[in-house]
Amino acid sequence: MKLRRIAATVALHTLLVAAAALTLFPLVWMVGVSLMPTGEAMSLPPRLLPSSPTLEHYRTLLERLDLLRYLLASATVALGATLFSVTFNSMAGYALAKLRFAGRQRLERVLLAALVVPGQIGMLPLFLLLREMGLVNTYWGVLVPSMAGIFGIFLVRQYALTIPDALLDAARVDGAGELRIFYSIALPLCRPILVTLAVATFMGAWNDFLWPLIVLTDDRLYTLPVALAGLFGEHVQDPELMMAGAVVTVLPVMLVFLALQRYYIAGMTSGSLKG
């Protein structure tokens, strides 16, 4: 019996390690090819690792293909979206959770019903609207749809519900104003979920493709994913260069996730299930 148990555990671990290797493989290979000298990825038999690692493709991206500009564009958009979404969604989420006002339940019902409606549906009129406002081809235009969102509001709301009312009432008795209570009592208590929201927004904004592709028509303003898709059209025959571009596009988000994953996973799983 005990032997069987050990055998099962060994088999399970073998399976897990194999699955992990399979999952990591495309990412490891991406890094490997990005370091190969030109032409090495298109040879038979295919190589997994570079014969003599080189950074020449990263240099080409930086010096000839304006990589830094796209990197800055992506950082601007992702950080901007994160800043606005954490600010506006935390304000709204707290108000829904902790302040009584007329029409609150109806408002919650409307927002909940719209929670699962994808933004793609209104994309064309949104584009025309931004065109009227002169925001097409600007980073504001890219930012606008992610500055506040129903998902973010409810993520904060669910968390803020756990703040004891007694704490807020005590502050009221002490004469603190509502905005002050929000700012100096509720916000610090909500910090874990705000980190979750920040990571989720950063990831979403950095990785978004369709919307910046539509709003940004000037290729000097492109974010990394849009620039990468454009480069790919011209440099399909240059896998080493494209892989280097892919590494640069993927790496920042991955690092943010690895640094903050504890908050991100805890927040996403608690919030998403109670919806």
Partner: protein, 315 residues
Amino acid sequence: MRTRSAAALLLLAPALCLIGLFFFVPMVASLLLSLTDFDIYAVADRSALRFVGLRNYSALLGDSLFWNALRNTLYFVVVGGPLSIAVSLGAALAVHARGVRLKGLFRTVFFLPVTTTIVAVAVVWRYLYHPRFGLLNYALAGVGIGPIDWLGDPDWAMPSIIAMAVWKNFGFNMIVFLAGLQSIPERLYEAASLDGAGRWRQFVHVTLPTLAPTTLFVTLLTAIGYFQLFAEPYVMTQGGPAGSTRSVVLLMYEEGFRWWNIGMAAAVAFVLFAILLGVMLLQAALRRMLSARNETQDADASVGREAARPTQEPA
């Protein structure tokens, strides 16, 4: 109390204004636009705009391009969705299993593809799928399977995109399943094992039923996400070969932003909306059925023990 209402208004205003102006207004406008012939001339001169009733919709229903896009999207949803969910559940069960070491590490590794940018991994996978130099064909040649033109063959293009999507997405649903598994009380397993149920029967009679609401939730999210297929075919195949990977959103993008048939593109968007609405209603109905069943089961189990049960919290 008055100050609290005022504060609530103040705190809600920015988010609600943004969501109203940039989400709800475009949504309604989209419906209205789909009833017009808004095209490239109307972009320049609004007086060229005409109301055409349901003509866009009838044109759409008679268009083989649209049916083709719908069929491709359904293929992606119906094959890719369950496959994704099965892999997610398998990974969650394996990571959660008793006696597994380094759970956190495995969880992180399986989640990594979720953090990647779809454009970047589409580039990577396109090279993996390369008919001549790709690693996939090289590995298959090792076991005697001839070269397959993964993205160039209309029969293989969509399965190839599905394989990549499963790889990229399964980590997200896995953490949702893991949260569901962790919330199953240990005493349920103890009771089942006292009744003589082995590992497999515990899985079928305890794990699966308790995970049902999680599974339903995951299914809804996955279906909604997968109906919006866009970046994968845009980068990897441009909708080809022979239109075999052109999705509904890709069609909308082409109609709207390549040909500027905005009225038509809005109609495509609304057909997608109607489909998603149907999916959501179906999920809501299933969820009601599920909770009704659980209630009767609970009631059976607790007959005579509990006189007054607390009212169920609204779903």
